[in-house]
């Protein structure tokens, strides 16, 4: 009898502690009104979308909110500006961006610096064409974007 119980417990644990459930347990992901004031302040740009987001996405954003207070003011400002666009990306687009970021991070510092410089030069070169009144597009014209999810 004891062994049946043990095997059953082990199976229950196995079925309930799968990667999917560990990554996102809906019961542990709070709704917007359940967030702390601090979390709501950080995640304010995505307040409207919060309750419609997947559990995984909310869990990731809560993680970002946790890191937020350790950031420099200019970094915090960037997070605030980019959060909305980030949340609008599809999971595949976010995954692709993460992979690119990691690739860039793994490069030697001089190579990384070189790419950033090239990017800055390209952006600077484009500025006059966009006109001084047109705001810089903060969201990607991502190759993976689908019409329904493409950020505006």
């Amino acid at each position: 009898m004891a062994r049946v119980f043990l095997v059953a417990t082990a199976l229950w644990l196995f079925l309930h502690i799968t990667p999917a459930t560990a990554a996102a347990q809906p019961a542990q992901i709070p709704a917007w009104r359940e967030l702390t004031t601090q979390q709501q302040q950080v995640l304010a740009p995505v307040a409207d979308e919060w309750d419609k987001m997947s559990a995984v996405q909310r869990k990731h954003l809560l993680g970002v909110a946790k890191h937020y207070h350790g950031m420099k003011p200019e970094e915090q400002q960037r997070v605030q500006t980019r959060l909305k666009d980030w949340a609008k990306l599809t999971p595949e687009q976010r995954k692709a961006a993460r992979e690119k970021y990691q690739k860039l991070k793994k490069l030697p510092p001089e190579k990384r610096h070189e790419i950033k410089q090239k990017w800055k030069s390209k952006r600077e070169a484009k500025k006059p064409q966009q006109g001084s009144t047109a705001p810089a597009k903060p969201v990607p014209s991502a190759p993976l974007a689908s019409p329904a999810t493409k950020p505006q």
Binding site: A22, K103, S141
Partner: protein
């Protein structure tokens, strides 16, 4: 090759030697084998008793030697999966925070030129 040939030669000599064994030697060997087998069976029974409180007779799935490792394996697998997934989740969160706070805008990571530079540098 020389070693193999030597081994074959030794085996042949040993086989030939078997025919020369007298009856009393054969009896002694038979007895020794029987004793060794009895000793082996006794050890298995004691081991089974220590684990399950009964002899090892019966179906293999009833034996604790089957289900205890099975439970341990299931738990270890569940633990590994859980650890891996929380680890991946933690990594993704750190990357997200760094991406959002980084000096490159999000759309840089979707820019064709940027990706080409990245690919050529990796």
């Amino acid at each position: 090759m020389k070693d193999q040939e030597l081994a074959k030669e030794i085996a042949r000599h040993l086989d030939d030697g078997l025919n020369l064994l007298n009856q009393s030697t054969l009896n002694r060997l038979k007895l020794a084998r029987k004793e060794a087998l009895n000793h082996y069976h006794a050890q298995r029974t004691v081991f089974g008793l220590a684990w399950a409180g009964h002899s090892s007779s019966g179906h293999s799935w009833q034996s604790s030697r089957f289900w205890l490792p099975t439970v341990a394996l299931i738990l270890a697998l569940a633990g590994t999966l859980y650890w891996q997934s929380t680890q991946q989740n933690g990594d993704a969160v750190e990357i997200d925070a760094a991406l959002l706070a980084g000096d490159l805008p999000l759309h840089a990571y979707f820019d064709e030129d940027f990706n080409a530079w990245l690919e050529s540098s990796s």
